[in-house]
């Protein structure tokens, strides 16, 4: 990540909105891609098997938290004869920095991928200056 990056990936997780109904379940950090345009940062994250309703995107101050619960696993538990898919909860936190307009963060979920668009404040966007 370059020095100009406003988003930093945090390792620790201060406050997770994940339900702790089953004590032995682990929380995994899903893989993420982030790109920056002139007007926004766009974050995409793999959250397979998660119903849209269970995805929580929260912005607290400069911290963006994404959490999701995989409920798919309830279904075929007893008949499983081979198991590789980790039926975990997902959680990951990002530090947004100061140039993001946290009031207009938008999120959508499709095909198991969450996309979060984080618009920059107009003051943080590059401005073209006309030469007279």
């Amino acid at each position: 990540m370059g020095s100009t990056t406003a988003i930093t990936v945090l390792r620790g997780n201060p406050a997770l909105p994940v339900r702790r109904s089953e004590p032995l379940r682990s929380v995994v950090a899903p893989v993420a891609d982030i790109y920056e345009t002139e007007t926004a940062y766009v974050l995409t994250m793999d959250l397979p098997g998660v119903p849209k309703e269970s995805v929580t995107v929260t912005v607290t101050g400069e911290i963006l938290s994404v959490a999701a619960e995989n409920i798919h696993r309830q279904r075929e538990q007893s008949a499983l004869i081979h198991r590789e898919i980790l039926w975990n909860a997902y959680a990951r936190t990002f530090n947004l920095g100061k140039d993001i307009d946290t009031s207009s963060v938008a999120a959508e979920y499709a095909d198991g991928v969450l996309t979060v668009t984080l618009p920059k404040y107009p003051a943080a966007q590059p401005r073209r200056i006309e030469i007279n």
């Binding site: 081979h82 095909d111 991928v113």
Partner: protein, 131 residues
């Protein structure tokens, strides 16, 4: 257990050139559940559209192959974090019972592929009444 999962041997017999070729073909994680009348294979395929998945069943092996289309990024965008490298994938699962191949069905939901393989009549359990 009748089922066997085939892990790709590609890495073993690959040349150096293959190893450094990016991106490498990935192997999605699978869960397999067996019921009296069917076996259900679930594969984790986030970001993959159903039209980009191919399924074949040959003899007793179900093979899942396909492609994950790269993210559409605006031209002037700068990539800050790049962790997702899956482009193409392949996975095979050997099914340990006779399958009614005509009745195999598959669906995609929330990035999860579900393949239902109904057992052929001979492979279904039959209850015998003691007279």
């Amino acid at each position: 257990m009748l089922l066997r999962i085939d892990m790709p041997t590609r890495l073993m017999d690959s040349t150096l050139e293959d190893l450094f070729e990016m991106p490498r073909r990935s192997t999605p994680a699978v869960d397999v559940a067996e019921y009296d009348e069917r076996t259900v294979v679930v594969a984790e395929l986030p970001g993959v559209r159903k039209e980009d998945v191919q399924l074949t069943f040959t003899k007793d092996v179900l093979t899942i192959t396909g492609e994950r289309k790269p993210l559409e990024i605006p031209q002037n965008a700068k990539i800050l974090v790049h962790e997702q490298h899956v482009r193409s994938f392949e996975r095979s699962v050997r099914i340990g019972h006779a399958v009614d191949t005509e009745a195999i069905s598959a669906s995609m939901e929330q990035g999860m592929l579900t393949v239902v393989l109904p057992k052929a009549a001979v492979a279904r359990p039959r209850t015998i009444t003691v007279k």
